[in-house]
């Protein structure tokens, strides 16, 4: 049995109800709503976290907090030793 195709208006109503039922967006004329911009994730926190945060606790703080323990500062000791060498070599 041949049934005439329902009118455009009727089809539109059907689409609208269908969208309400399935909770999809109703935009049959493809009007640019700018939703594609809102859809994208924000990348602010990822961009900020590129450089590591400076540690609030430094080597000198640990040294000062525990004076009974010996924390050798190898880099500084090397620097001092080299400076002394320069002094010796220059004399």
């Amino acid at each position: 049995m041949l049934v005439p195709r329902p009118s455009t208006q009727r089809m539109r109503q059907l689409l609208k109800t269908s969208c309400e039922v399935f909770q999809t967006v109703f935009n049959p004329d493809s009007i640019r709503t700018g939703n594609k911009i809102l859809r994208k994730k924000m990348k602010g926190p990822a961009v900020i976290s590129y450089y590591p945060i400076e540690s609030p606790v430094k080597f000198r703080h640990i040294r000062a907090a525990y004076p009974m323990f010996e924390f050798p500062n190898t880099a500084d000791e090397h620097r001092v030793a080299m400076n002394e060498l320069y002094v010796v070599m220059s004399c």
Partner: protein, 110 residues
Amino acid sequence: MVMKIPTPGCFVNTRIIRDNFKRHMAAEAEAERKALKYIAYNMTVPVRARIQAQLKLATMPNYTRMNQPKNRCVVSGRGRAVLSDFKMSRHQFRMAAQNGELPGVKRATW
């Protein structure tokens, strides 16, 4: 009260400070920029509002733009040839890899 941007814990030089500043500013303005762009692109919004949004977007300072931050080398501050997986420039990467400081990285042979 001006919010102080934290100093990076890695190698610090002028360029890295500038880049860090841009990152913080871009992140701060991200929501606003997104909203303005949405208004400008939304055809259901009156034309005047769209134009105003577009103008506002154009007049926002360059350091608020998300394309301004550049991935710099965290050890040397170099802006070019930076591998994003390691955040290091090619030479620093090579030195660290040969010292064994990068886990799982070895010379490519196949």
